[in-house]
Symmetry: C2
Amino acid sequence: MKRRLAIPLTHPRYESLRLREMLVEQYETGVVATAGLIAHGRGEAFDYLLGETLIPPAMSAIKMAAASIVIAEHPVISVNGNLAALAAREVAELSRVADMDVEVNLFYRSQDRELAIKQVLGEAGVKRILGVGNDASKQIPELGSERRRVDPRGILSADLVLVPLEDGDRTEALRRMGKKVIAVDLNPLSRTSVSASISIVGNIVLVMPTLIDEVKAIEQSPREKLNAMVDRFDNRKNLEECIRLIAHRLLDLRLQDQKLPKYLEAAD
Amino acid sequence: MKRRLAIPLTHPRYESLRLREMLVEQYETGVVATAGLIAHGRGEAFDYLLGETLIPPAMSAIKMAAASIVIAEHPVISVNGNLAALAAREVAELSRVADMDVEVNLFYRSQDRELAIKQVLGEAGVKRILGVGNDASKQIPELGSERRRVDPRGILSADLVLVPLEDGDRTEALRRMGKKVIAVDLNPLSRTSVSASISIVGNIVLVMPTLIDEVKAIEQSPREKLNAMVDRFDNRKNLEECIRLIAHRLLDLRLQDQKLPKYLEAAD
């Protein structure tokens, strides 16, 4: 069931529909799971409420994330289907710039999906891809069966894990293992956002390039300065700012005045 | 790729995951479109922000919808894949109770999907299903190719169309044709919500049974009373109440106090 949307560039929802198309394409190649499509829809709704932009608290969280990555001993990027579909090239660049390992780590694990994701990452320039097949030989305690398997060279021995578009169970399990967890999640209320060390509330396609720039900008900064900055960060306070910002945007809307919001295109 | 979630009844997100499972099952039978999965995800996010309940302005809109259906000459229910997956039995009951025609009307039209939806509706007890195949012989002006086809016995000659989970283009086109349009949409900001005559902002599985009860409760009421009630209704004002309600719920959240919200389960 291949169906291209063939979105006109002038469409008011062009950018949002383009991402949706990328996701559906990678669904057809087996990279994205069915649940990943539904999760993307949730993300679209929150992105819309955020104004489809990087809001100030997200910018603060990105700065903290960059500092944390620079000072980490062994930072790892955890890649799932949606991330591979939407930002494989950015994963490759961040891993190069910040010297991060890249590990495929799926909620719905299957060898076909792992290999499909490995291929997308490889084509995007990721040299070494951990966590595929029997490489994921170790277990995260307390996580269900297949989801708990990790690569001893990657997530298991990492002190920091970047988990874009991840689920709450895994985030909480990684935190219990004492790891610093950086989440990228459009929903500031999700269990992932609430339980991560640093939650970046923003669209992955905006967050990744900004995070890469930020790592480049601060990688020569004194470590004490970065440490002090990271220590001051209060993730829940930052999330509350995101929530308040959404609420105030909603209160400012006036449908009666014909100042209509941009549309959420809702195809059935 | 059949995968049952096998959700434990004790799961904090049981009801939400059950609906998701129904949708994925009907995706596999061809009833639900790929875009329908993403649209469902958007709905989940808004439902979550509404507290996953029928909020007071939604209850008002349901009363207005019931009154409008009772006084309509020829009311029709427009059925798409997501509606068939989530509320086929309620479609059957509403059509019986309110004497409404039922027409299959798809954004992504294909004969396989139409027939799959027809089967689901038939099994749920809908006796006469319009709009399938060559029955959809007439066109809604200004809508793209396949999307514009409607049944002359159904939507084309209707004075009122109930369009649950519909897209904005179609809602606007039906309005331009002078029809009363009742939308059911969890997003109070969508083009569908803003352009419908009456927008019910709520989850379809809560809205449909309540609408059926409401029709039964008022079907014997004097028509002048119902007319007067419907005339007083201001849809945009009602939508603004929904939006304010979401905003105030968000402002009341305090992550710092550990009074955490219920979770949005975000599987990758």
